[in-house]
């Protein structure tokens, strides 16, 4: 033999392997104990027999080639991957099957002559199982990662289920897989399935997963239902997809035609996958709920804005007749000091209320994006002076010391004077309101580079750091630390900032803390020094007052009558009408020089009345003045198109009306 007994023994001793030696005729000359134990064939029974007699299928499986190769002097490696086994030995694992082997067939060479072969057999069963296990786990992990990615990407739940079903079928190596959703009536609806072909089983009555069970293994205990059985399913694994509370969202299942058991690893994998699907479903559900809630909030917000606009509008209407009545009282009873005093009080309070209502209306317009700016070139000092005037009544009432410092040179800004005056007025009013009686207020206007600045500082209650960030929020007020309520709606500063921001400017609040006073600084883009004050043309002098024939049309009888009485006091000849048709009749009879016409009339509205008046040649020269609660550009355009000459916003400013009446007729 080519291998001495001593060497064979030494080789046997150094490794846990099977050794099979043959001579050049492939007759077995060596058979170690390892082989004897695993094959059940003792050495005495093996030695002396021909290899192919001992293992007849070696030739049939083409493995004789490797022996020929060895006899030709070459070593042959036989990988377990390409040849599961070489010698048919029973598997050492509990289940049946063959031992997985990795084998070398080595030529036994003496001098340069091959005298035989030595086959070295290693048991690779455990290694193969371990590697397969590792590979399965890495496949499972990859599948979980992909499913998690699909869930995180926010795909709809059916797409996430399609991915999950594909992954579980492929990774576990099953024939079918499906994801079902539990319906409110307790039946199942298919979300995704694979392997069924065009003939997917009806999921409606799938009774395979009790609601309380987490995992069910079909084939051991539970049985496939008729639908599944009809498709040859004999084993399967069903896991619950968690849902809200005790009720599952659905189930994830894999099925095989062949009877098989699922390893704990595979069960774990399926549950992890189901958890991902459950999480994705929950997330989708939450997203949906959030969207509905956001839509409801937006809708509520829009209704609130509309309500505010309506409220402000409705509050404003009654103010006009009250103001008129006060003016009538004051004019007719000017000799009674008590009447004059009370009339002044009423005027102030009406002014205050009108201011609040205007603020409210403005805020609602701004939030709905319905404010138009009429920008002109204007000196900052004029704006500050106008703002001081609006706040002066309150400042004086509270006996504050006011100091105003204005720049020596004009600082021109491109701004809507009404709106900026309103902003600065609100800030000043705020300072007056939140400073104890007899406090100090400083107003300083100037230029800071390319910006016009106005700062308003006071010795008032100041602002906490937390309040500094919220002071401009709508309906926010500093907590009422002073004994009495300061009144107001908490919209003055919101409005001030929004109006300034619409001009491209900023408003900042600063305070060293409660009780330390506060300072508000307004910054607006300024025109370069020396810019022309082009927009400030001289106003035409008003013409002398003429007594005019007037018709006042308003369905609010108080409003119409009080205005008529007031204008009659100024020497005008006034008649009233309270709806469109009466207005047309009165216009034909009276031939008024001026008609004050409310737009929101019952029956024929103000536009229609104006159009018909314009069609009457006898009334061609009549001046038409619209009175309306709406003052947007769009509203002005509509009155102009209907034939009006002027557009006054309610409550009508009597001074402005008088100016129109004094001016020459428009036509």
């Amino acid at each position: 033999m080519g291998l001495s007994r001593v060497l064979f023994g030494q080789l046997d001793a150094i490794g846990d392997w099977g050794l099979l030696a043959t001579d050049a005729d492939l007759t077995v000359t060596g058979w170690n104990r390892w082989l004897a134990v695993r094959s059940g064939v003792p050495a005495e029974a093996a030695v002396g027999r021909r290899l192919y007699d001992l293992f007849p299928d070696l030739e049939a499986r083409g493995l004789d080639r490797y022996y020929r190769q060895a006899l030709g002097g070459q070593t042959a490696i036989l990988s377990q991957r390409l040849h599961k086994y070489v010698l048919p030995l029973p598997s050492p694992a509990a289940d049946s099957g063959r031992m997985q082997q990795s084998v070398r067939v080595v030529p036994l060479v003496a001098g340069s002559v091959v005298e035989g072969t030595l086959t070295i057999v290693e048991d690779a069963t455990e290694r193969v199982a371990r590697e397969a296990d590792l590979q399965n786990r890495s496949r499972q992990q990859a599948a979980l990662a992909l499913s998690a990615r699909s869930a995180l990407a926010g795909h709809d739940i059916a797409a996430v289920c399609r991915d999950a079903v594909g992954h579980i079928a492929e990774t576990v190596g099953a024939d079918f897989a499906e994801a079902l959703e539990l319906q409110t009536d307790g039946t199942w609806a298919a979300l995704a399935g694979t392997g069924w072909g065009p003939d997917a089983p009806e999921p409606g009555a799938r009774g395979i997963l009790d609601h309380d069970a987490e995992v069910v293994a079909l084939g051991s205990g539970a049985r496939a239902d008729a639908e599944l059985a009809a498709r040859g399913v004999t084993s399967g694994l069903v896991v619950r997809i968690p849902g809200r509370g005790a009720k599952p969202f659905g189930l994830l299942a894999v099925y095989s035609r062949a009877a098989r058991r699922f390893t704990p690893d595979e069960v774990q994998f399926a549950r992890a996958l189901a958890d991902i699907v459950g999480t994705a479903a929950e997330r989708k559900l939450l997203e949906g709920e959030l969207r509905v809630r956001a839509e409801a909030l937006a809708e509520a917000d829009r209704r609130k804005d509309e309500f505010l606009a309506m409220l402000a509008h409705e509050l404003r209407n009654p103010l006009a007749p009250v103001r008129n009545a006060v003016q009538v009282l004051r004019a007719t009873r000017a000799d009674d000091p008590a009447v004059v005093r009370h009339a002044d009080l009423l005027t102030r309070q009406i002014g205050h209320m009108a201011h609040l209502v205007d603020d409210l209306l403005d805020v609602s317009r701004i939030t709905r994006g319905k404010v138009d700016l009429r920008k002109v070139r204007v000196d900052l000092a004029d704006l500050v002076a106008a703002a001081v005037e609006t706040a002066r009544p309150l400042i004086e009432a509270r006996r504050h010391q006011l100091r105003v410092s204005l720049p020596a040179e004009p600082v021109l800004v491109e701004a809507d004077p009404t709106r900026i005056t309103q902003s600065l007025g609100n800030i000043l009013t705020n300072a007056a309101k939140y400073t104890e009686d007899g406090g100090h207020i400083w107003v300083a206007a100037g230029r800071d580079g390319a910006e016009a600045t106005v700062s308003v500082r006071d010795t008032g209650i100041g602002l906490s750091p937390e309040m500094l960030t919220r002071v401009f929020d709508l309906f926010t007020q500093e907590s009422r630390t002073i004994d009495r309520s300061q009144g107001g709606l908490g919209i003055g500063l919101t409005l001030a900032r929004r109006l300034v921001e619409m001009h491209g400017g900023t408003v900042r609040a600063a305070s060293e803390g409660p009780g330390r006073g506060s300072e508000f600084t307004v910054r607006l883009p300024a025109l370069p020094p020396g810019a022309d004050r082009a927009d400030r043309g001289a106003r035409p002098e008003p013409a002398p007052t003429a007594n005019r024939r007037l018709l006042i049309v308003d369905d609010n009888i108080d409003s119409a009558e009080s205005m008529a009485e007031l204008l009659a006091l100024f020497g005008h000849n006034v008649r009233t009408a309270h709806d469109g048709r009466a207005a047309l009749t009165a216009a034909r009879d009276l031939r008024p020089e001026v008609i004050l016409l409310d737009i929101g009339l019952p029956g024929l509205d103000g536009y229609e009345v104006a159009r018909r008046i314009r069609q009457n040649p006898e009334l061609h020269s009549t001046t038409l003045i619209a009175m309306t609660g709406y003052g947007q550009d769009e509203d002005r355009r509509k009155t102009r198109e209907a034939g009006f000459d002027h557009h006054l916003v309610k409550p009508v400013d009597v001074d402005e009306l008088c100016r129109i009446l004094r001016s020459p007729p428009a036509r």
């Binding site: 002097g73 070459q74 490696i77 036989l78 390409l82 990795s102 070398r104 030529p107 590979q135």
Partner: protein, 206 residues
């Protein structure tokens, strides 16, 4: 040394015969059709081997190394870059990628494939040249090209030459590029070339 044109033709012809048997062995093993392109043959001093190898493999390489002995002795290498080796192993056995952390199975598959290719090739050389080779058990290395070549130069007491056989083959439509290198001492190379010339002469006469 360089090979003369006629020597190169003779070697190419010989390698062609050897490779066709190699392809047949691979086909038989895997049950897949294996197509081989005509191999490119060149001879280089070992110090100049790396640039020449660069035409076929780059960077990390999987090398099956088999030492052979007899009248002509030396080292035979099958080199595949890791990409090619990965593709080959997955095509043949789906055993996963043969990386430095690769499983025993993937390494074994690569060793067996290398063993089949080298044995088929050297076996044909032996038969046709009537030279008897003996072989050691092949070993698989996963190294950079440089360190593999360095290991050949260390301890060499004579100038060694290499016969580079570049090959491209396709398995199941995927191309795998690799090369086979025979490193021989001067004496062995002379004997090898002489044997080839003798064979070519015999073949021509026949």
């Amino acid at each position: 040394m360089t090979l003369s044109e006629s020597q190169k033709d003779a070697v190419t012809e010989l390698v062609n015969i050897a490779f066709s048997r190699t392809a047949a062995a691979l086909s038989e093993l895997t049950g897949n059709r294996v197509e081989l392109n005509v191999p490119e043959v060149s001879a280089h001093p070992i110090a100049e081997l790396i640039p020449a190898l660069g035409r076929f493999v780059h960077g990390e390489v999987a090398t099956v190394h088999q030492i052979f002995g007899g009248p002509v002795s030396g080292d035979a290498f099958l080199l595949l870059d890791i990409d090619g080796a990965t593709r080959l192993v997955s095509l043949l056995a789906e055993a996963g990628a043969p990386t430095t952390q690769m499983g025993e199975s993937a390494r074994e598959v690569l060793a067996e494939v290398g063993n089949i290719l080298l044995n088929a090739c050297l076996g044909v050389f032996g038969d046709l040249l009537e030279v008897r080779f003996t072989f050691a058990v092949p070993r698989l290395h996963l190294d950079s090209l440089g360190s593999m070549i360095d290991s050949l130069m260390i301890g060499a007491d004579e100038i060694r030459h290499s016969l580079l056989i570049g090959a491209r083959f396709r398995v199941r439509g995927s191309e795998v590029t690799g090369c086979m290198v025979l490193v021989l001492g001067v004496t062995s190379l002379d004997l090898f070339v002489a044997a080839i010339e003798g064979w070519a002469e015999r073949a021509t006469r026949a």
